[in-house]
């Protein structure tokens, strides 16, 4: 008998989703209660995850198709925390647009469930199921503000392109299956020693599909449009939560089934990384919409995470995970600021709207200052340490070219972050924004800013947790 306790989080969250759906159908005006119950669900799931799986070093279930190890537990917890915070700060935004419905929390929960399955997957089929579950939920979320043209456009675009990439991914999976005779990662790892051409195709297809999901250049085209068109809270969700899951899957694919084929994929990852870092930095310069700018900046940040993965070392993987965790905090803080730019039920999302913010809203601007400098990677803020660990791992493998290109692109990236700071601090002020924000929004902004600002005092804690992850 399998030890079902290990998948208890997934079981619990799926039962809750069904319950919430039924509740939503049969009870009128139940959006508020669904919201609160979903938050509750996420909390309980996180607690179960910590309790049941955090001490497990590595276990497999269901014919070894699901793996529970430290990485999966940690990434699930980050996903859950991210999901919780997104949900908790969305409510006032959704109410403004009159889309405060039961579907929203349920969709978020389902995509989280999909991600959790992805994170734990040790089998091509399980992985694909998880991926599709999260993607389908995300398509709907992108179009969630369906009265707006841009939102529908974003959803459709995302759906078409994402379906294409899923197709590629599936094709790659079938090629790999054809050569190894198994869908199980461990078995594949043992079977794949040959340097067959077609196998390389399989790997490339899978990597392309995954690169699409984390929007690495050159598979990033969808990101700016989708990020801009989707409702802001959904964009926030897009920029952080799916990336965690996709990164985990990336790590698993590269370092479990394809570990022996490192010569084949290392160049691809280095290319993706450099292209994303450089393109993300350069393309963001001309943007006028903050959400589009964040899209490009997140492309750049994904480049840095990939740089850690390209090293093929445990330090590299750990540094990528640290990077993504700090990135989650920074993005959460940035979006909290963005959600505060509200005046009479209208949200502002152009960079020009930030003009002179520091005169009317000194505290909000100070937070933005800290967040933006951190995103630019200036010490002593958290963003610097994220980059620092990545480059430490990269340089350990003597990959100087990657490190220098990465660091030079931080200088280019610094330019557009500075531009926002310039607009906030040096330009003329505009009208005041509303200040009656929900408590949760203020809470998430304050906590994340303080985390960013004071991370340098206790940098060891995060490293200690992450250093337990040893894949290779």
């Amino acid at each position: 008998m399998e030890n079902l306790n290990l998948v208890l989080p997934e079981i619990f969250i799926s039962l809750s989703i069904m319950f919430l759906l039924i509740l939503g159908v049969f009870k009128k005006n139940s959006s508020k209660i669904t919201f609160n119950l979903s938050l509750f669900t996420i909390l309980i799931t996180a607690i179960i995850t910590i309790n049941e799986t955090f001490s497990v070093s590595r276990e497999t279930l269901f014919n070894e198709s699901v793996v529970i190890d430290i990485m999966s537990s940690l990434m699930k917890i980050i996903t859950l925390i991210g999901g919780f915070l997104v949900l908790v700060i969305s409510s006032s935004y959704l109410k403004t647009f009159k889309i405060y419905n039961i579907e929203y929390p349920v969709l978020i929960l389902s995509s989280i469930l999909g991600m959790m399955v992805m994170i734990s997957s040790n089998d091509l089929i399980v992985f694909y199921m998880g991926l599709e579950l999260q993607s389908l939920a995300l398509y709907v979320l992108a179009t969630y503000n369906r009265d707006q043209l841009k939102s529908s456009e974003a959803g459709l675009k995302y759906f078409v392109l994402s379906a294409l990439s899923s197709g590629l991914l599936l094709y790659g999976c079938s090629l790999v299956y054809g050569f190894s005779g198994s869908t199980n990662f461990d078995v594949i790892s043992n079977q794949l020693n040959s340097n067959e051409y077609v196998l390389t195709f399989g790997i490339v297809f899978i990597l392309v599909g995954l690169a699409f999901k984390i929007s690495a250049v050159p598979f990033h085209m969808w990101a700016p449009d989708v990020y801009e068109g989707s409702p802001t809270t959904v964009t926030l969700f897009f920029t952080i939560v799916p990336k965690i899951a996709a990164l985990t899957v990336f790590i698993r694919f590269l370092y479990v089934p394809f570990l022996n084929l490192i010569d084949q994929w290392q160049m691809i990852i280095i290319f993706l990384s450099i292209a994303s870092m450089v393109f993300g930095a350069v393309a963001a310069i001309g943007q006028t919409n903050i959400k589009r700018l964040i899209a490009y900046s997140s492309i750049g940040h994904i480049g840095y995470t990939l740089a850690g993965l390209a090293t093929a070392s445990n330090e590299g993987i750990q540094s990528s995970i640290i990077y993504i965790s700090i990135y989650v905090v920074m993005n959460l803080a940035l979006f909290s600021c963005l959600l505060m730019l509200r005046r009479k039920d209208q949200y502002y999302e152009n960079i020009e709207d930030l003009s002179g913010l520091s005169k009317n809203h000194p505290l909000l601007s100070l937070c933005l200052l800290v967040i933006l400098f951190s995103l630019a990677g200036i010490p002593p803020l958290a963003g610097f340490f994220a980059k620092f660990y990545v480059f430490k791992a990269v340089l350990e493998q003597s990959m100087f070219f990657l490190a220098i290109v990465g660091l030079l692109s931080t200088v280019v990236a610094a330019f557009y972050y500075l531009r926002i700071i310039k607009i906030i601090y040096f330009d003329k002020e505009k009208d005041k924004y509303d200040t009656d924000h929900s408590l949760w929004l203020k809470f998430s902004l304050t906590v994340s800013t303080i985390l960013i600002l004071l991370y340098f005092i206790f940098p060891s804690q995060l490293i200690e947790v992450v250093s337990r992850i040893n894949i290779i």
Partner: protein, 493 residues
């Protein structure tokens, strides 16, 4: 472990800044905020003086060392001072209160935020000078960009945005390569602790590249020709207090870095690249002096003169002679005082006339004599007249240079003449001549606080000009040991 006196030096300004952060910002002249900031910095100055008194001059080993685990098994938070760094710390703690007193007129709005920025800047600068770990050094070195960017950008002149961006991006671009080098050093030697690195030494085959990476950062910050172009812009647009901090202390970080890291960690590479430094320094001295001659903006002129003076400093450091390095350190301290004083004197007339152009002025001696006398003193100190601290530094540097390379020293000496030319010509055009501009007739002489701060700067300039022993005694042992270490390293390879 004793009382962590260096950490308290670093932290105190931040505590002051936090205190200011929680006070209410008033429009106009916010005296309370100013007094809080002043009090903090003066206390800091007194602590640093105490540090100097209790400093043991007979040894070159690091003193007041604090060593704490920061990132487990990787970086230690390690600070400590030797004869070289202590003077820079005192310079920092001395200049900052002067900046704060001087903000009377130059900063009109958001005084509290300005003071917070200056205080945070101070603690980063002190951190740079006492860091004994490369990563800690880098952290402080880079973090200083944030407050300076804001100081230039928020309170600067008309082209402030351009200047702030140029300052930030130039310096950042220089520094990222240093970060690569620092991490590489960690992987080569297994530590980033400077003291340990001095003992272990770095393999010769890596030294050249690492030296160049550090050089790229320090050259921008010094600034050396041809990457000096950010400096005139930043100086001109920054508010007076910002220019003072920039010229007096920020530029010294690079000179300090050259001595501490380039010479100490990469002796062989330093030897290899000495011709490069000589060439760039000589070009900086001659070329920027000529540019300074042609300037019509007083602040720009002083900015270019800073580049020329820093050219002397880099020249002196890489002579690798006792006199040269000592001269460079004294020149840096002296330049810190003199350039601060010059920017403040320009600030005085700028506050009254709102013009930095030399042509606006002329004949000031008949209306504001006190000002003219002090200005004369600083101008003479800047051109290195015997009896001022400027002379000691330049003289020692040239002495070291003559020992090492006659031609370079000869050309650099021409720079001294050019320096005299532009400074005296500036003085003549501003102070002497006919009083043509009618507005100048009603101009007021120095008020009490201006008089006070300028005298505060004049006193050490004269004192150390006549009696440089306290400075030389402090640095002597450290410099001797540095050179000995350097020579043994060269000999052993």
């Amino acid at each position: 472990m004793n009382f962590p006196i260096l950490s308290s030096l670093i932290l105190l300004p931040i505590v002051g800044a936090l205190f200011l952060f929680f006070t209410k910002d008033k429009e106009g002249n916010n005296l309370t905020a100013k007094y809080v900031a002043l009090f903090t910095t003066v206390v800091n100055f007194l602590i640093s003086i105490y540090l100097w008194i209790s400093f043991d001059q007979s040894t070159s080993s690091f003193q007041f060392v604090e060593d704490r685990v920061w990132i487990e098994g990787f970086i230690n938070y390690k600070v400590g001072i030797d004869g070289i760094s202590i003077l820079f710390i005192i310079l920092t703690t001395f200049i900052t209160p002067i900046c704060i007193i001087s903000v009377n007129n130059s900063v009109k709005n958001r005084l509290r935020d300005f003071l917070i920025a200056i205080l945070i800047m101070e603690s980063f600068m002190i951190g740079v000078f006492c860091a004994l770990d490369l990563v800690v050094f880098y952290l402080f070195f880079e973090a200083g960009l944030i407050p300076m960017f804001l100081i230039i950008g928020i309170w600067g002149g008309e082209r402030r945005v351009y200047s702030a961006f140029k300052f930030f991006l130039y310096t950042l671009l220089g520094s990222v390569l240093m970060l690569v080098a620092i991490i590489s050093i960690y992987w080569i030697t297994g530590t980033t602790d400077v003291v340990q690195l001095y003992e272990i030494g770095i393999d010769v085959k890596y030294q050249n590249l690492l030296w160049l990476a550090f050089f790229s950062s320090f050259a921008v910050k010094t600034p050396m020709w041809p990457v000096h172009t950010w400096l005139p812009d930043a100086h001109v647009e920054a508010p007076t207090a910002g220019s003072v901090l920039l010229a007096a202390i920020l530029l010294k970080m690079a000179g300090y870095g050259f001595i501490r890291f380039s010479l100490g960690l990469f002796p062989i590479a330093s030897e290899v690249f000495t011709p490069l430094i000589y060439t760039l320094s000589v070009i900086a001295i001659i070329f920027t002096s000529l540019i300074a001659l042609m300037q019509e903006d007083m602040k720009k002129l002083i900015a270019y003169s800073s580049v020329a003076h820093m050219g002397f400093v880099t020249l002196g450091i890489f002579t690798l002679q006792q006199q040269g390095i000592e001269g460079s350190i004294i020149q840096m301290i002296s330049h810190g005082l003199v350039s601060a004083a010059l920017f403040l004197t320009v600030g005085v007339v700028y506050d009254r006339m709102h013009s930095r152009l030399i042509s606006t002025y002329g004949g000031l001696v008949s209306v504001i004599p006190k000002y003219s006398i002090l200005f004369m003193l600083f101008a003479l100190a800047s051109l290195g007249l015997p009896g001022t601290s400027g002379f000691i530094g330049e003289f020692l540097i040239l002495m070291g240079a003559f020992k090492d390379n006659f031609l370079v020293a000869f050309i650099a000496s021409i720079g001294v003449i050019l320096g005299a030319a532009y400074m005296l010509w500036l003085y003549k055009r501003v102070i002497f001549g006919k009083l043509i501009n009618k507005d100048l007739k009603t101009i007021l002489d120095l008020n009490r606080s201006e008089y006070f701060i300028l005298s505060c700067l004049a006193a050490p300039i004269l004192f150390f000009g006549f009696y440089p022993d306290p400075l030389i005694n402090t640095i002597e042992v450290s410099v001797t040991d540095l050179i000995n270490m350097h020579n043994t390293n060269i000999a052993s390879k």
